[in-house]
């Protein structure tokens, strides 16, 4: 029943709506900028590590699901939404993986924007 599975990549920090300010358009940090701080890098690696650990081995056919999500200051996944999916079963399994993350709180000085992620799951 089990077959291999899922390849996935954490695209990184997702650019969401950019708020205009009196000082001009705000610039969202890139993933590289977020990971330039060692504490941030270690925490983001925890996210990717946990996602790898949670990859199921169900054979659900080929397809891609992309989910955007945010992690709050406590390490809880919030504001998760589908950016792309082509099949309900795959979408449910991907959403299950994202909502199963048990993350430690991010570094206290980590920018909020650095906690926005876009995760793509490639099912084979």
């Amino acid at each position: 029943m089990f077959r291999a599975i899922i390849v996935f990549c954490l695209i990184g920090v997702s650019p969401a709506a950019v708020a205009q300010s009196l000082f001009g358009p705000s610039e969202r940090p890139t993933l590289a900028a977020c990971m330039a701080i060692p504490e941030n890098k270690a925490w983001i690696q925890t996210v990717t590590h946990q996602l790898r650990e949670r990859a199921p081995k169900l054979n659900l056919g080929r397809g891609t699901v992309t989910i955007k999500f945010h992690v709050d200051f406590r390490g809880h996944v919030t504001r998760a939404s589908f950016a792309n999916y082509d099949n309900n079963a795959r979408a449910l399994v991907a959403a299950g993986m994202i909502t199963s993350l048990k993350l430690p709180p991010p570094p206290f000085d980590m920018e909020t924007d650095c906690r926005d992620f876009e995760q793509t799951f490639h099912f084979h």
């Binding site: 949670r54 990859a55 169900l58 299950g96 909502t99 199963s100």
Partner: protein, 131 residues
Amino acid sequence: MKAAAVFLAFLLVLAQPATAQSIFDGLGGTGDPARDAERAEFRQWWQSIARQVREHTSLLAIGHGTVTVHFCVDAAGRVVDAQVVKSGNNEQALLALSTISSLKLPPPPLFSRAAIKKYGCYKFSQSFHYN
């Protein structure tokens, strides 16, 4: 996508190699240090499975219901077979199966591998209670 607190899990061993009863069992030991050590090792392995199931369980709110999955772990610690034997709905069954198939288990204790050779694998039953 709405997430809510979700579930309770119960892990049972379905098939274990036969173990003889001992008058020391009630005291928490068999009186045989080697056998006690083996039991402790097995308990540790079993607890690692239960811990992973807890950690890998999704917090998606997909209604009330109970799903029971029977699965088998081979000598290398791989989940080699899993079957939903009871489920409330398809979504719950899929998520439960996904959780079980995502387990990355350490190999079972050395002493129990002989039993696995004999029985094929260790059978477990996992129930998920979605709230």
